[in-house]
């Protein structure tokens, strides 16, 4: 597998918080096309790590390689062409005055010719389902719609790695579901795209390829979701919860039915149980 992102011994401290290190010696790598979720309680350094990965903050020590390129001031153009971030607040990342001009903002920055730009704007507006709103201004849109525009704006850049920094945290439940579906669709559409999702949503983490749990700026656990969440006590000890499906599976296991590890959704679980019932009959 091709390593698209490599983090080596990353350290970071905010100027305002002297003595308290926000990121402590973090190392990990992400493969191309992988869907990684970063979870952790408030103040665990998740968002800081996202900003470091996209070189919006400069680490005190340690190295980040994006697509084989070392992240530093000199390579900033290359970094911007490989990695992008969708932030939490839909209002504060809507730069254009209309949906189309916002999607085009990043393309304008890259000096892409206008004809190509129109083509890309239409393509990605379609992909996120905002093609009917191209002329709308942000105050006419809901939070979920604005967030979809932000996603289109990032995807239109044709990046290698996209980071969602709690992109669903400020949305209503419907908006959250929309964005989750969009992520799945996007991954189907473009299997080479690497997703790093920073989230509070344990359920989302359970469905990803890999989970990295941060605690006080350090990597606490890392691995496949079914393995990471296995030790319930350990997860609960750092103030996180385990996914609902897993709880259900644990309860079912007490009854003597062992559900296989790769069943990770409610639908999958009910299918499995129905299958079991059929066998018995």
């Amino acid at each position: 597998m091709n390593k698209v992102l490599e983090v080596k011994n990353l350290n970071f401290t905010y100027d305002s918080q002297e003595g308290k290190q926000t990121i402590k010696n973090v190392s990990f790598s992400v493969n191309e096309g992988e869907y990684v979720t970063l979870i952790g309680h408030n103040g665990s350094g998740k968002s800081t790590l996202a900003k470091l990965l996209a070189y919006l903050l400069e680490p005190q020590s340690g190295e980040i390689y994006i697509n084989g390129v070392l992240e530093n001031e000199k390579n900033i153009r290359k970094i911007r062409q490989s990695i992008g971030v969708v932030f939490q607040n839909p209002d504060n990342q809507f730069i254009g005055s209309t949906v189309e001009s916002d999607i085009a903002f990043g393309l304008e920055n890259r000096a892409i010719p206008r004809e190509k730009m129109i083509e890309l704007v239409n393509k990605y507006a379609n992909l996120v389902g905002m093609e009917k709103y191209l002329n709308k201004s942000p105050e006419e849109l809901s939070g979920g719609q604005k967030q979809r525009v932000a996603i289109a704006g990032i995807l239109a850049l044709g990046l290698k790695v996209v980071i969602f920094d709690e992109a669903t945290a400020m949305l209503d439940p419907e908006g959250v579901e929309d964005i989750k579906d969009l992520i799945l669709e996007m991954r189907k559409e473009n299997p080479e795209l690497t997703f790093i999702s920073i989230t509070h949503d344990i359920e989302e983490a359970y469905l990803s390829d890999r989970v990295i749990i941060l605690n006080d700026g350090e990597i606490f656990l890392e691995g496949k979701p079914e393995d990471v969440f296995e030790d319930e006590k350990k997860i609960l000890s750092i103030g996180l919860d385990i996914p609902f499906v897993l709880k259900l599976k644990n309860k079912i296991a007490l009854k003597g039915i062992n559900v296989p590890k790769d069943v990770r959704t409610i639908d999958g679980l009910s299918e499995f149980l129905c299958g079991r019932l059929k066998q018995k009959i």
């Binding site: 996209a54 971030v85 209002d91 189309e100 085009a104 920055n109 206008r114």
Partner: protein, 295 residues
């Protein structure tokens, strides 16, 4: 707050569809026309009347109610009274022999008709200017005004002035006006629920209660700007870099026609101005036409 004076209303009239650059030019041109010297008061009022007529026609085409300007700007009347006091009661000029007395007080202090006329004249100019600006802002999307501005700033680019930064700042400011208005409403409601009264009390008390709105608003402005700059950075914004533009302004035939109309109107007004200042007989023609003694 939905019906703010001069707020852009997205109708689809010919005025709305005109090129913003042209509208900008016409605005400035017609504003200058308001301020050209047209000789005596009779001439001035006739010329401004014609201009008012043109403006009213444009407003009707653009679906703006011409009367709405009076109802939406109540402070205009305060200004009118203020002007009246200044121009009527404050003696104008040293040479009063050519003025027409209106009221002569027993102590010899005289009020002249000219004071009243001057008030009307200044007031009319102001209203016409307001109407013109209103036409521009309510028929042109804020962003289009920015594009027009960017185009007019082009000469500054030649001397390496970063005009794109200026227009980016303006467009971001315009973009965040509705967001911040929304925010201020929220803060006001939040503070009201904590017992702040924005409506009653003396001015000193009102100012105090306004600070409970201003400070949270400023704080949130700063945090927003930090996030915005991160988002712009993440999408590769480089203020000094070369950028292409998604939106381009096209000059249509209708814009060309309107440009000619504007230039025609301009030249007519300039002629009227030149005529009244260089040809002293202008007064007599007016007398002949309307049978009035020109001031």
């Amino acid at each position: 707050m939905s019906n703010v004076f001069g707020k852009f209303k997205p109708y689809n009239t010919i005025i709305h569809r005109l090129d913003p650059r042209l509208k900008f030019f016409a605005l400035i041109a017609l504003m200058v026309m308001c301020f050209l010297p047209y000789g005596n008061y009779a001439n001035r009022f006739i010329v401004l009347g014609v201009l008012a007529l043109i403006i009213v026609v444009i407003m009707i085409i653009a679906k703006i109610n011409p009367v709405s300007i009076f109802s939406s700007l109540k402070s205009l009347w305060v200004m009118m009274i203020f002007l009246l006091i200044i121009f009527v009661f404050v003696q104008q000029g040293v040479d009063t022999s050519s003025l027409h007395p209106m009221i002569i007080f027993p102590n010899g202090y005289t009020l002249y008709w000219e004071g009243l006329l001057q008030t009307l004249h200044v007031f009319l100019r102001l209203i016409l200017m307001l109407c013109l600006t209103l036409i521009l802002t309510s028929t042109t999307a804020p962003m289009d005004i920015t594009y027009a501005l960017d185009w007019y700033l082009y000469p500054l680019k030649l001397i390496k002035f970063p005009t794109q930064i200026v227009t980016m700042i303006i467009s971001l400011a315009l973009r965040f006006i509705p967001t911040l208005l929304d925010e201020s409403q929220k803060i006001m409601k939040a503070q009201k629920s904590r017992g702040v009264d924005y409506n009653r009390g003396f001015i000193s008390k009102k100012i105090k209660s306004i600070t409970t709105l201003i400070i949270p608003l400023l704080v949130s402005c700063f945090s927003r700007s930090v996030e915005l700059s991160l988002a712009m950075d993440a999408r590769g914004y480089d203020p000094y870099g070369k950028r292409t533009s998604y939106k381009i302004l096209k000059f249509h035939v209708r814009d060309l026609v309107s440009l000619f109309v504007t230039l025609l109107i301009m030249s007519l007004f300039i002629m009227a101005c030149a005529y009244s200042s260089f040809y002293p007989g202008a007064d007599n023609i007016l007398k002949l036409l309307f049978g009035v003694e020109a001031f």
